[in-house]
Subunit: 144 residues, 2 copies
């Protein structure tokens, strides 16, 4: 992209209504991402995100789509199955955005074949925040 890394706009995707078991991890990943630029969806790491239940869905959708369209990079944590994350990834692929999906391998489970098989998505398996951070740095340098 040839941009100053600090000016990067990053769209982070994590599960909301699909399950919040990884909310603290999203928070930690967003902290890593903030070193490189502006995280448009910083609220996804907030523990009080339940507030958004009172915003009409159409408003949430249109706000997030505007952010997605303006993003330089899309980074998703995809361990928890989520319709919203899948939808954002599908739209981002069609928009031609660079996309990194971070996945923690699970016993007796496989990542969606539509995500692992998408030529528009880079999938990286990882263990813990330190490992994720290394993979995020490499992805951002690759797209700089």
């Amino acid at each position: 992209m040839g941009k100053n890394e600090k000016a990067l706009k990053i769209y982070f995707c994590g599960s909301i209504r699909g399950g919040r078991q990884d909310a603290q991890l999203y928070h930690d990943l967003i902290d890593c991402l903030k070193v490189f630029g502006q995280v448009l969806t910083e609220h996804i790491g907030r523990s009080d995100l339940v507030d958004e239940r009172y915003i009409p869905s159409r408003e949430i959708h249109d706000r997030d789509l505007t952010w997605l369209q303006s993003a330089d990079l899309v980074i998703a944590e995809v361990t928890t199955p989520s319709l919203g994350v899948g939808y954002e990834l599908g739209r981002a692929v069609e928009m031609g955005k660079p996309i990194l999906c971070l996945y923690r391998p699970q016993e007796n489970k496989l990542l969606s074949g539509m995500i692992s098989g998408s030529p528009g998505i880079i999938v990286e398996e990882y263990e813990g925040v330190v490992d994720a951070k290394r993979r995020i740095e490499r992805f951002i340098k690759l797209n700089d």
Copy 2:
């Protein structure tokens, strides 16, 4: 569309790796859909779908995308959170396909705001196959 209903190509989306608890329901919904046209993704209702684990993800992805591109209508069952279903819906919205999502309301859970808030998607809450069939018929007539 003005096409003969029998010639309709229907892309049905249901959770695969996100969870197969609704597999029998997918089978029953696909049976309803077959009255109206060709269901491109009939395998989603098969109880032995586990076979697909041995097909490379890229092949699954590209086969399904080709079907999605050729489809006249997209109908999804979205009660089980699924990255693959979300991804297909995101891509189908970008392609401008008519999309119906069928959702069974759950206690203490909400459907993804990106799905319920998407202006490119019609969401219908339903209870059981008979109710779903009525909503499918109405949607297909609306797009005929």
